[in-house]
């Protein structure tokens, strides 16, 4: 294993020290591993918190700031943070208008956020709502699985809901908006290589030359099928087709995110976006906004994911509203 780390067991701690050094506008609670906006809590604004395993940067810490999250709880690499972190963040960001927990649908994240919400209810007077994202079409949603994973839509949701909170919407409105966004978005990912969790020291799975994992998640977990690699055009079709089969996007403006898994050059991500946009165009889907880059990653994995979100004018207005975070910044 070759990595820019001091010790596998101190990766998250050391990275938080670096984030604090790079971003004096943020407040870092090193003990509880929470990244806060410098100005939280804001009186009367709904507090937004998220969190998850580390290794997906810029998600979630990179999205803390004006127009997005109030706090992000960092877990170990690919491991959910713990209820006491989320409880502490909930207390800290409440400006009297309640707090929304944004949770990606993974068993660990859901269980820990559930316990945090229970603790918040019994130990504090803070009103808490939770939204669980589950946009990954690679996973069959049935009684027989843990359900679809929360992936790319989480990024778009944090941006749009962040703008709504900034605009003064109340907790019920914001929770409803968050659920509507989740229901309107779909994602699909693929990997060309695996990734190495520092504590494990070797790649999570072995992916030989000429093969790719289709339907891969964001934790280096194997995907649903292993297939031969193809051209970018072929791969784009294999990502977009299941998304379009799952939800009808025709007739509404969509936001498309072409997301890198961490190890793929922007050159290839833009190349892929061109292919994806062409397919959407041919399918009669109107791409109103886009995001190309590494936003929800899986350490150094190479590969990408596509997220398509059906929107309306109100949602687009919130998307266009100013945002000022380490990972996403415009208009501010």
């Amino acid at each position: 294993m070759k990595k820019l780390i001091n010790d596998p067991s101190s990766v998250v701690r050391d990275a938080l020290i670096g984030i604090a050094a790079a971003h004096p506008e943020l407040r870092i609670d090193h003990e509880n591993r929470i990244i806060y906006r410098g100005d939280t809590p804001k009186k009367g604004k709904v507090g937004l918190i998220s969190g998850g395993g580390s290794g997906h940067e810029p998600l979630h810490g990179g999205f803390v700031g004006y127009g997005m999250l109030d706090a992000a709880c960092a877990g170990e690499v690919f491991t959910s943070p713990t209820p006491d972190q989320m409880l502490e963040a909930t207390k800290q960001v409440d400006g009297g208008a309640g707090v929304l927990h944004i949770v990606k649908n993974y068993t660990g994240d859901v269980l820990n956020f559930e316990m945090a919400a229970e603790l918040a209810a019994s130990e504090t007077g803070v009103a808490v709502e939770s939204v669980v994202t589950n946009d990954d079409v690679a996973v069959q949603d049935s009684l027989w699985t843990a359900g679809r994973r929360g992936v790319g839509v989480t990024v778009l949701l944090e941006k749009i809901v962040g703008a709504a909170a900034e605009a003064g919407q109340d907790l019920a409105q914001i929770a409803a908006l968050a659920r509507r966004i989740n229901e309107s978005g779909r994602s699909m990912g693929m990997a060309l290589t695996s990734c190495t969790v520092p504590a494990a020291g070797k790649p999570t799975f072995d992916l030989p030359e000429g093969e790719m994992e289709l339907g891969v998640g964001i934790h280096g977990e194997p995907g649903r099928t292993r297939v031969p690699t193809g051209t970018a055009r072929d791969i784009a079709a294999q990502l977009v087709d299941p998304i379009l089969r799952d939800l009808d996007f025709v007739g509404s403006p969509v936001i498309v995110m072409l997301n890198g898994m961490g190890g793929t050059p922007l050159l290839e991500l833009y190349l892929m976006f061109g292919e994806v946009a062409a397919i959407l165009n041919r399918s009669g889907v109107t791409v109103a906004r886009n995001l190309v880059g590494n936003y929800i990653t899986s350490l150094e994995m190479t590969g990408c994911s596509v997220t398509v979100l059906k929107t309306d004018n109100d949602m687009l207005k919130l998307w266009d509203a100013p945002v000022n975070t380490a990972g996403l910044r415009w208009g501010a």
Partner: protein, 220 residues
């Protein structure tokens, strides 16, 4: 030494401390094995997470020195919830927290039946939290048979020591039986049929939990 029949032995605070300490030793010794199982169908962190959590549990128990069995369970449960993360933190944490709630406050000794009631409450907590059923390829598939074997052994009047061994053997069988199953809960469920042919990492750590219990009960 306890005779093979007649439940003369009792579970004491020392037994619980031994249980937690041996469990810590076993997850530490099997750290790489648990992570390897988790690499196949999960996300390669089960060994390191459980080791981190149990190290913290043993350190916490050592520094606070809880005086009753309920306090020991509650301390272990809260520490796991705070330090493990993932799904294992809430699940193992809830197991010990519920064991604690089911233990009479202040008790420093439990007979085999009362201890079985605690374990049963722990299992019910795991089910309430994780919503797993038999055959879902989870820690439940090791824990439920372990408790059934414990109850059955105690029920026929055998010693705590024998009940502990029976529980560990049943857990190991339950663990091995997860291999051909399709995972229906947790991250492995995303793999569908590709989870077949792999042992569930949670059932493996739960087997270590009952192996540790068997060793702790061998001194009762």
């Amino acid at each position: 030494m306890t005779a093979d029949t007649g439940s003369t032995g009792a579970v004491s605070t020392a037994t619980i401390i031994a249980w937690l300490t041996v469990f810590r030793d076993l997850v530490t010794a099997n750290n790489a094995y648990l992570t390897e199982l988790d690499s196949a169908i999960g996300d390669a962190d089960h060994g390191s997470n459980m080791t981190r959590g149990m190290d913290a549990v043993v350190a916490q128990v050592g520094s606070v020195a809880p005086e009753s069995i309920a306090e020991l369970f509650t301390s272990a449960g809260m520490t796991l919830v705070k330090t493990v993360g993932g799904a294992s933190g809430p699940l193992y944490g809830t197991f010990f927290l519920r064991c604690g709630s089911a233990t009479p406050a202040g008790a420093t000794q439990l007979d085999s039946t009362a201890f079985g009631t605690c374990l049963r409450a722990g299992l019910e907590g795991v089910v309430a939290r994780g919503k797993a059923q038999a055959g879902d390829k989870t820690m439940f598939d090791a824990m439920a048979p372990a408790l059934a074997a414990y109850d059955q052994t105690v029920g026929r009047g055998a010693s705590l020591s024998a009940a502990g061994v029976a529980a560990a053997v049943a857990a190991a069988t339950g663990r091995d039986n997860t291999e051909p199953l399709v995972a229906k809960k947790g991250r492995a469920s995303y793999l569908g049929d590709r989870s077949v042919g792999h042992i569930d990492p949670g059932s493996a750590s739960t087997t270590l939990l009952f192996e540790a219990l068997a060793r702790a009960l061998s001194d009762t």
